[in-house]
């Protein structure tokens, strides 16, 4: 059985909890569309802590690096962010595809910080969902049945081994490769 065993609502709830614990703020303040940086005051170190909590909870590996850093590693330094820290038109084109409506006001020449403030509770939860959706068709033992074991971690119904999800960075790399093949942005 493939597809997510864990519902979006559960993931959203866990994401809110992880944020509340890291930032030491009331759960009520954390809305799906809250910007982690602008509305909730998160800083870069906080993101790593929130990610860590989600990783422990779901048995996954969240992306360590932001999409534009991956672009520069894959395609070359300066392709997404220029030497003054401003985003290139190509970077904006990619973000518009990736973020859709949320990126509608982005313009070339803005600083990278302005993009990271677009990260919301929902987008973080969606990142978790993307990783959870990568659950393999079969366990290495051959069984195709997964179940939710302790906490929220998927394990094989037959041998009990934890599911090996794709890691967040690999998914971003695959995404960039796909978009690049289709649209040749860079």
């Amino acid at each position: 059985m493939t597809g997510n065993l864990i519902t979006y609502d559960t993931v959203l709830e866990e994401t809110r909890k992880a944020i509340a614990e890291t930032l030491n703020i009331d759960l009520d303040r954390i809305k799906p569309d809250s910007s982690l940086i602008k509305d909730l005051g998160a800083e870069s170190l906080d993101f790593l802590d929130i990610n860590y909590r989600l990783e422990q909870r779901f048995g996954i590996k969240m992306a360590r690096r932001f999409i534009l850093e991956h672009v520069e590693e894959m395609i070359g330094e300066g392709t997404a962010v220029d030497d003054t820290g401003k985003l290139t038109d190509k970077a904006i084109a990619l973000l518009k595809i990736r973020l859709g409506e949320k990126a509608r006001d982005l313009k070339p020449g803005i600083y990278i910080d302005e993009v990271t403030s677009l990260i919301t509770v929902e987008s973080l939860a969606q990142g978790v969902m993307d990783i959870l959706a990568s659950i393999p068709e079969r366990c290495s033992c051959g069984s195709s049945e997964w179940k939710i074991g302790e906490e929220l971690q998927a394990v094989c119904s037959s041998c009990g081994e934890p599911a090996e999800y794709a890691n967040g960075d690999d998914l971003i790399v695959q995404y960039i490769e796909k978009i690049q093949a289709e649209k040749r942005i860079f």
Binding site: L23, I37, A42, E72, E73, G85
Partner: protein, 254 residues
């Protein structure tokens, strides 16, 4: 008994969190006034700086919060004009602030390399240059917070380069400033469970296997800093004291 640092004043850069916060607490417990410095406006650091400052004041010490990015020379100058207008002296300069990308050196972008040097080398030098006249007047102390990355390989830890460089700066200052009555030393921390540890944990597979008895508490670093600020450490000059619970001696362990 009177507290040993009564009427003294300490500036601790990057003190809203982690080791800096523990140092701020320890200094104020000994009676020192504390200037709490953080960089980012409007975020969690600012909240933590406010809470810390209130805690220091509840101990009967003066506290001033100053937002300043030490990598900007202008912001450092502003910070020092605020200090001189609020306090009669500056006795201790604790260079604790640090900021760095966590990735292999080969993968650093130019802007990350610049940030690494601008915050962790230039920033510290700007701070002590501005502090010099004040420290000369108070016959004060400089303490730099280093880490084992200055001498051992840590995965994805380019900050180690700057820690080595700063330990060399401290050695230099202890000689070049000694005629003016200023002393400088460093404390080199092992693995400390602060917010930065959360980063290490994500780039360093297996760090969780290091036994708890080898994990340093921020307070243990802070206690060494207060010692290096006290008259009892007057014979120690230009040194880097390792506070790592013996981790760096335990090669056999792995």
């Amino acid at each position: 008994m009177e507290k040993p640092f009564k009427d003294k004043t300490a500036l601790i850069t990057g003190s809203s969190r982690g080791i800096g916060k523990a140092i701020a607490r320890a200094m104020s417990c000994l009676g020192s006034n504390v200037i709490v410095n953080y960089t980012k406006q409007g975020g969690s650091s600012e909240q933590q700086a406010k809470a810390l400052s209130a805690e220091i004041e509840s101990l009967g010490c003066k506290s001033l919060i100053i937002r300043a990015d030490i990598s900007s020379r202008d912001e450092v100058k502003d910070m020092f004009s605020k200090i001189t207008s609020s306090f009669d002296s500056l006795d201790f300069l604790i260079l604790n602030a640090a900021r760095a990308p966590f990735k292999p050196i080969e993968k650093l972008f130019e802007r990350e390399l610049r940030m690494l040097v601008e915050v962790n080398l230039f920033g510290n030098i700007y701070c002590f240059q501005q502090a010099l006249p004040l420290l000369e007047k108070s016959q004060g102390r400089i303490v730099f917070i280093s880490s084992l990355g200055s001498r051992f390989y840590n995965p994805s830890y380019p900050l180690g380069i700057m820690k080595s460089a700063m330990e060399a700066v401290i050695r230099d200052l202890s000689c070049s400033l000694s005629e003016r009555g200023i002393n400088a030393n460093a404390v080199c921390g092992g693995i400390v469970k602060t917010d930065s540890f959360k980063v290490l944990r994500q780039v360093w597979e297996g760090i969780e296997r290091i036994p708890d008895e080898l994990i340093v508490e921020p307070e243990e670093i802070a206690d060494t800093v207060t010692f290096l600020c006290s008259p009892q450490s007057r014979g120690i000059k230009g040194q880097t004291i390792v506070v790592d619970r013996g981790l760096s001696n335990r090669v056999y362990h792995f």
